[in-house]
Symmetry: C2
């Protein structure tokens, strides 16, 4: 197996050096460089060709989230976030930006290496607790609202209602009279067996009907 080429990005000297030492003594890894912030990490990556970035979130100049975005977009390598706390929003931002893993720092060296290898091999790694949260916040597809049976025009109306527009506003947007909008809404409500536009908006947005 080729060595896994690593870039470490962390604004703490302690963490950076510690990590480097842990990895340097292992023949499976090669640390290409250490960075104090996202920008430096990207620079290192442009000269070499790292496999994995070990990325902190809080860093001056360019934080880990932004850096991740750039790295993923430019295909510079895979990002494994290593941080001290698991703020839900940060996790989500990181993942949306393409991070392949999100771990807190207090793992044993052995375990850390295992997880870098996992990411290298194409498997995402996540703190258990984070995985739970992620699952909680993910809407099991509510399969509620279904576009089938609606004309394009009706969908225009539905989407506008679900933006919170009034009939007059919808009429303006679609160049039809308010009366026509009302008409469409009546038809749509009948199809879904709903009684008013707010219920329609809620149903469209959440998949849930009142009851």
């Amino acid at each position: 197996m080729d060595k896994i080429k690593i870039v470490i990005a962390d604004d703490s000297d302690f963490v950076r050096d510690g990590m480097r030492i842990i990895l340097d003594v292992d023949k499976d890894f090669e640390v290409l460089g250490c960075a104090r912030n996202g920008r430096e990490a990207i620079e290192i990556a442009k000269e070499n060709a790292p496999d994995i970035f070990l990325m902190d979130i809080q860093m001056p100049e360019m934080d880990g989230i932004e850096a991740t975005k750039y790295i993923v977009e430019n295909n510079l390598g895979k990002v494994l976030i290593l941080t001290t706390f698991d703020d839900d929003e940060l996790v989500q931002s990181a993942l949306k930006n393409g991070a392949k893993g999100y771990l807190i720092k207090n793992h044993t060296p052995e375990h850390l290496k295992q997880m870098i290898k996992s990411v290298y091999n194409g498997t995402g790694v996540m703190e258990e607790a984070i995985l739970e949260n992620l699952a909680k916040n993910t809407d099991v597809k509510v399969s509620g609202f279904c576009e089938d049976g609606y004309t394009a025009r009706e969908m225009d109306i539905i989407k506008a209602v679900a933006e919170g527009l009034s009939n007059k506003e919808i009429g303006n947007r679609l160049f039809i009279t308010e009366g026509t909008v009302k008409n469409y809404i009546t038809t749509i409500l009948a199809k879904e067996n709903l009684s008013h536009r707010t219920a329609l908006a809620v149903y469209y947005l959440t998949g849930k009907k009142q009851g």
Copy 2:
């Protein structure tokens, strides 16, 4: 390190035996037993005390999703789902039921072992592609709507509106008159500078104001 105690659950003889052989030859693992379905896996677990379940999803009698639920609720061990395809809904169901990992089967033995160890050490593992989907479907908290500045009563109203209830229905639920409900809504709309309840519902649900 103690051996990691494993229960394998898969309805294919081939997979079951293959997995067993792979793990048995490694001193870090001990296969406690193999099961053809979820029920059998649970039975094995009740007598022994496994650390990890390698669990297929499609299985007769009791599938992997159900089994996972039972196992997690009764604290029988950690579940690593090993399946052939990555149906998004199945992933979500599995995670909601407490699975710690979700992998497709075609990993190398070495890699598979790594991942079992990761799960054992408290880190969830997920197929990269799945992680991406998961991130996509997770709403980054839209920070739009803010409960600050609202009384408990007002929040009752707002939530009811966001369920698509009418003023009459809200009044019935909260034991106040329709008129009072209207009043609250007027106050709330003024605070958010919105013009009607549907816009409020949309704002509450999506964090977006019309415009």
